[in-house]
């Protein structure tokens, strides 16, 4: 039956890790993700898990140890934020290339400089081409649920890819929310025992991982890696459905909120989607046909699903909690507009960069976006270049 209790996002993630009891956790602390591994280390010390906890000297070492443990044949988890994720960058690519289903909780935080410990998505966005799946949580319940599903998704034999469980730093990681924590056994049953794929410790069947791979074969190997992402997309849908059948909370690639008949749709990632739900309801009370589209899976990017969900809108706003310096707009905007263009859907689309370094995003800011969209729909074209929400200008 589980229990309804109040936990911080970090505590909820650590709780899910305790329930899953991975073989190896190799981690290095960084705000705001520290509590995840701190709490988990306590579980190890208290004998509540049998995990081999490896305390390392940097995030580069942490991800290297995770990679090695995964290739050896273990179920492996880790957590980090911002600069820690950046220091893992080199190894992130190797983990996905070697098709190891390592699970990394990324507590989203602004990258330096200048130094800032608060939420934005610049860390995850910087890692968007690394080959990891990226699933963003709207609230603490989702951070907990997503971690459990991430294990089931990444470990499927037709997927075998690492997954980032992304949750907004402080906004979720340090906020207490009432959530449903499921029974230990039910969680263990959902993820199942770890199924190995060609582990290095199987000495009867020796294999080589990561050999030199030059111009004669590297390209073919990269092309074959690309083949893993359509099944990953399917796995996110199927495991989200199965999660719904078992626990009553179903998930998909995207989630629309009043998008069916909406003229004005705002697209976002993470906790801002929660604020948007309230704003949509306010707009609806005023007679504005507002909607919200939450992108839960940013990698693999559900381009077709997004295009279908947005095709009937009169105007769209894409909210980016990260800048892409030198690009003409934010990263999510590029992906969404590219999805629309390639599916032949021409809808004027504004881009807003917001919330960098933890800057508050308030309902009034979001209401102003719906006001803008009504003007955009009338003008028949988006504003250019990007706009900013909550910036002193």
């Amino acid at each position: 039956m589980g229990k309804r209790i109040a936990l911080e996002g970090n505590e909820a993630v650590a709780e899910a890790m305790r329930q899953i009891n991975p073989d190896v956790v190799a981690a290095y602390p960084i705000t705001p993700s520290t509590e995840i591994v701190q709490n988990f280390a306590q579980f190890v010390s208290d004998g509540e898990v049998t995990t081999n906890f490896v305390a390392v000297e940097s995030e580069h070492s942490a991800m290297s140890a995770c990679l090695a443990a995964a290739v050896a044949g273990g179920r492996v988890m880790n957590a980090t934020s911002a600069n820690g994720l950046a220091l893992m960058w080199e190894i992130l690519y190797i983990v996905s290339s070697l098709r190891q289903p390592v699970i990394l909780s990324v507590v989203n935080r602004a990258l330096s400089g200048n130094i800032n410990i608060h939420c934005d998505h610049s860390d995850s966005m910087g890692a968007r081409d690394t080959g990891w799946l990226q699933i963003f949580a709207e609230d603490v319940q989702e951070a907990y649920d997503n971690l459990i599903q991430a294990v089931a998704i990444g470990e499927r034999m037709d997927v075998r890819l690492p997954v980032m469980n992304c949750l907004d730093g402080f906004l979720l990681s340090h906020s207490y929310e009432l959530l449903q924590v499921e029974d230990d056994q039910a969680v263990k049953d959902f993820v199942g025992p770890y199924q190995q794929w060609k582990p290095l410790l199987d000495i009867e069947n020796p294999v080589t991982y990561g050999p030199l791979d030059l111009y004669d074969f590297y390209f073919e190997h990269k092309r074959s890696q690309m083949e893993a992402y359509p099944p990953a997309k399917q796995a996110i849908i199927e495991e989200g459905k199965r999660f719904g059948e078992v626990f009553g909370r179903e998930y998909g690639l995207i989630e629309g909120f009043m998008t069916e008949d909406a003229d004005f749709v705002v697209v976002a990632l993470g906790s801002t989607c929660g604020t948007l739900r309230d704003v949509v309801l306010e707009q609806r009370e005023k007679g504005v046909k507002a909607g919200m589209l939450k992108i839960r899976a940013f990698r693999p990017f559900p381009a077709e699903e997004i295009a279908m969900a947005l095709q009937n809108a009169s105007a769209i706003a894409v909210l980016d909690r990260a800048a892409s310096f030198g690009a003409h707009a934010g990263p999510l905007y590029h992906e969404v507009t590219s999805a629309m263009y390639t599916h032949g859907k021409a809808v004027p689309t504004n881009n807003y960069i917001y919330g960098l370094g933890g800057r508050e995003i308030l309902p009034d800011d979001l209401s102003s976006v719906y006001d803008d969209l009504q003007q955009v729909a009338t003008a028949g074209q988006p504003w250019s270049p990007v706009s900013f929400l909550g910036l002193r200008e």
């Binding site: 290339s97 070697l98 075998r160 060609k198 020796p206 991982y209 074969f217």
Partner: protein, 112 residues
């Protein structure tokens, strides 16, 4: 059947993750063409310590299994890297310009 992919192998014929599922296939990867100097052993001073065999990074020193005796260099696997010459405790191995081993040179017997 060769254990090495032909150069025409397509992307969907690759092993997942680019792994090599067969052990010991370095033997089939020849690097002899990289060589522009080659080692020559002085048969008189060699004490068969096999340091050259231990240190060679490419298994290019052939030995006879039953006697554990030096049996010459492998023209397919020697890169001409000098390591055997450097580790030889009796300084019996000399690096000679040119990539070709000659059967007339001392210490070069037929490959196994």
């Amino acid at each position: 059947m060769s254990r090495v992919y032909p150069p025409t192998a397509k992307w969907h014929e690759m092993e997942r993750a680019g792994i090599i599922p067969q052990a010991g296939n370095a033997e089939e990867y020849t690097v002899g063409g990289w060589r522009n100097e080659h080692p020559v052993r002085d048969n008189e001073c060699c004490i068969d310590c096999l340091f050259c065999w231990i240190y060679c990074p490419d298994n290019a020193v052939n030995i006879k299994d039953e006697s554990v005796k030096y049996q010459g260099f492998s023209a397919d696997h020697c890169k001409g890297c000098h390591i055997c010459a450097a580790v030889c405790p009796k300084d019996c191995i000399t690096m000679v310009p040119g990539g070709e081993f000659s059967p007339d040179e001392p210490g070069q017997s037929e490959e196994e």
